[in-house]
């Protein structure tokens, strides 16, 4: 029983990465209608950005939590301005292929210079060590990841669903021409939204740098699972992707305990089941 609690908690930790990443994807898909396959590569860039900040500029973990997402976010906005915006209004497939291609190029460039085994990034001193919870030893850093990503997730949800800015944004997706008539710069808003989604990916990258290796392929390994999370949660649903992210982390954690061989397939089995029963996802709107 004790072991089970521990697995639940570990699942929650992984779930927070899924949630953060799928949140970014959901924001981008919900607002821009782009299936952003470059998300994993941008997540990886966030981790590398933290590594460079530390080893070249001497900037530590805490500032990197803010600086890396901004830098990678700017990179994302450049991508949006120079390439993605020309695909607005076309079939989803075009955006998917373009971003997938970009992901392969970005990963290839990093792999060319840094190899595949990755680079070490230490846990910040303040978060080293762990606490004994009785049923498990919880590394403080992992606890921090859960709390911090929950705050970011809820903050993003609030921004989009409960503020005037978010309302404008949602309106712009629904009917860009009308919103433009109110004097709102829709293209700029779309660019900023893409930047926000990308920034969230980069933030997840910085968070995961001390836990996983900073590797060129760290995003490629994760992105498929995260897409499954978004599909299960319902494409474009902000709250749906947050909840599904955490829930799937827990389910995966339990599978690792009961039948470890299936741990990297269980998410896809669930995806198939959900699609069969409710094709628009658990919280998706049928449009």
């Amino acid at each position: 029983m004790q072991a089970l609690y521990a697995q639940l908690l570990v699942g929650l930790i992984n779930g927070s990465f899924y949630a953060l990443l799928s949140l970014g994807l959901a924001v981008i898909f919900g607002m821009l209608n782009i299936i952003n396959f470059a998300h994993g590569a941008l997540y990886m860039m966030g981790a590398f950005c933290a590594y460079f900040l530390l080893n070249i500029a001497g900037i530590g973990y805490w500032p990197a939590l803010i600086v890396a997402p901004i830098l990678v976010g700017i990179f994302g906005m450049i991508l949006e301005r120079t390439m993605l915006q020309w695909l607005a209004g076309l079939d989803h497939l075009y955006g998917l292929l373009l971003t997938f291609g970009m992901a392969l190029i970005i990963q290839g460039v990093f792999q060319n210079y840094f190899g595949s085994s990755g680079l070490p990034y230490a846990i910040p001193d303040q978060l080293k060590g762990g606490m004994n919870l009785g049923f498990m030893f919880l590394p403080i850093y992992r606890g921090w990841v859960v709390v911090f990503s929950l705050i970011v997730c809820i903050g993003t949800w609030y921004l989009i669903e409960r503020t005037r800015l978010g309302a404008n944004l949602r309106a712009a997706t629904e009917n860009p021409t009308l919103v433009r008539a109110f004097g709102i710069n829709v293209p700029r808003m779309i660019t900023l939204t893409y930047g926000l989604g990308v920034g969230l990916a980069a933030l997840a990258g910085v968070l995961s740098a001390p836990i996983n290796q900073v590797r060129p392929l760290m995003g490629a390994d994760l992105i498929i699972v995260v897409f499954a999370v978004v599909v299960i949660g319902g494409m474009g649903s902000i709250m749906g992707s947050i909840i599904t992210g955490f829930a799937l982390g827990v389910i995966e954690g339990l599978t690792k305990y009961f039948y470890p061989e299936a741990s990297n397939t269980v998410v896809f089995v669930l995806m198939v089941l959900v699609l069969l029963v409710k094709p628009s996802g658990l919280t998706g709107r049928t449009t």
């Binding site: 521990a6 992984n14 792999q111 085994s117 030893f137 590394p139 470890p260």
Partner: protein, 407 residues
């Protein structure tokens, strides 16, 4: 029209028939295929570095000046046996490849082993670990260089059991390699009076090991054996440190660790780990000289791993056999027989021999990872703890189930 076509067909057939006869006298054309994981979790320990090692072996052999035409091509098996065998078949059938080298990932390695045998090519495997390549699944076309699971189990495994680590829990990569390493290590543990209290199989290329590590932790085993490799091992070690496993009194046994893994983990966390390799760049003047040349040509300036060194050494020996044969290197069994009849002696692995089952015998070294304060240069990571002589490191012929030995 029809007649001219027929005539040309007849002519080309006649020429084609006579060609082998002509070629047999002075055919000195060799094509080497370096088959590896070029972009995944094993690409740093093999991959482009192995292709480079093969090219360097060609350059250093001096065969070019003696009229040989040797070409190196490379392929990416993506850690998938079906992709690996498809490339191997195409290489033999279409590209006229004579020899395949490297091939990390035991699952792919065993599959390619069958193709090479069927096509009567030469197979010098340096990248894969499974001892089955020279045991139950041995082949007259195969030479296994560098290391295998039996060797790893008997050096690292035995050393740990003898120093008091008598209860084990395995974290095993869920494919041929992990299974072989766990099997061979378990045999050593049992033979030395130890006990295996549990094991968990994780999918290849897992990024989060916390669930598995928690299971290992709660098993209370004294040693947690990592029967995995590459990125899986680095993540296991890093996350074990995070969960306070070593601090809690359990010991980690990295049964297979490469220098690129140590670099990736960082000395802070890797320090003190004991493990076995058969090559290290800083062993002697010859290894240092080669590694310097090698690193200068690598994009990230990395010295060769033991797998890449094995590709170089294996090919160096192969070229000796070709020179002894004088030409016509396309009969795989014949070339491998020649290789077995010449004692091995190269700058990287020293003196040794290839046993009748295809296993290359050379020394193995027990290393310990240095503390960050002891490391004086980039890649200065290991301290030599002990040397296992070749005849003790690998499967004794009396224990081998290889069918080639029953002749």
């Amino acid at each position: 029209m029809k007649t001219s076509f027929l005539a040309s067909l007849l002519l080309s057939t006649a020429l084609g028939l006579s060609a082998p006869g002509l070629a047999a006298a002075q055919d000195k054309i060799v094509k080497i295929g370096a088959l590896s994981d070029q972009s995944g979790l094993y690409s740093d320990l093999g991959g482009p570095g192995s292709t480079l090692a093969a090219q360097m072996a060609v350059e250093d052999s001096g065969l070019g000046a003696k009229g040989w035409k040797i070409e190196v091509i490379s392929g990416d098996h993506q850690n998938k046996p079906d992709v690996g065998t498809a490339i191997a078949r195409q290489w033999f059938d279409v590209d006229k490849v004579d020899i395949i080298v490297d091939v990390p990932n035991s699952g792919v390695a065993l599959a390619v082993n069958n193709v090479v045998k069927e096509k009567n090519g030469v197979y010098i495997n340096s990248g894969a670990a499974t001892s089955d390549l020279t045991n139950a699944q041995c082949s007259p076309n195969t030479v296994h260089w560098t290391y295998d699971t039996y060797m790893l189990a008997h050096s690292t495994g035995q050393a740990l059991v003898k120093s008091g680590g008598d209860t084990w829990f395995f974290l095993t990569a869920d494919y041929a390699f992990g299974a072989a390493l766990e099997r061979d290590t378990t045999a050593v543990i049992l033979a030395n009076g130890g006990k295996v209290v549990g094991s968990v199989k994780h999918p290849l290329n897992t990024s989060d090991f916390s669930s598995f590590l928690l299971q290992a932790q709660s098993s209370k085993a004294k040693v947690i054996g990592l029967a995995n490799a590459g990125g899986d091992t680095t993540n296991s070690i890093k996350q074990a440190a995070e969960f306070g496993i070593v601090g809690g009194g359990q010991k980690l046994a990295a049964l297979l660790l490469f220098i690129t893994d140590v670099k990736a983990i960082g000395l802070d966390i890797a320090q003190g780990l004991n493990f076995t390799e058969t090559f290290y760049w800083d062993l002697n003047d010859q290894t240092r000289a080669f590694s310097k040349k090698f690193a200068a040509r690598m994009k990230n300036g990395a010295p060769p791993t033991m797998v890449q060194a094995g590709v170089y050494a294996g090919l160096t020996h192969y070229f000796k056999a070709l020179e002894a044969l004088g030409g016509n290197p396309h009969d795989g069994v014949k070339v491998v027989e020649k290789m077995k009849s010449i004692p091995t002696d190269d700058p990287l692995f020293g003196k040794g021999e290839i046993e009748p089952n295809g296993r290359t015998i050379h020394s193995a070294y027990l290393f310990e990872v240095k503390k960050p304060s002891e490391s004086k240069a980039p890649w200065d990571f290991y301290r030599l703890v002990g040397t296992v002589p070749g005849d003790q490191a690998f499967t004794p012929l009396s224990e081998s189930k290889c069918a080639l030995l029953k002749k």
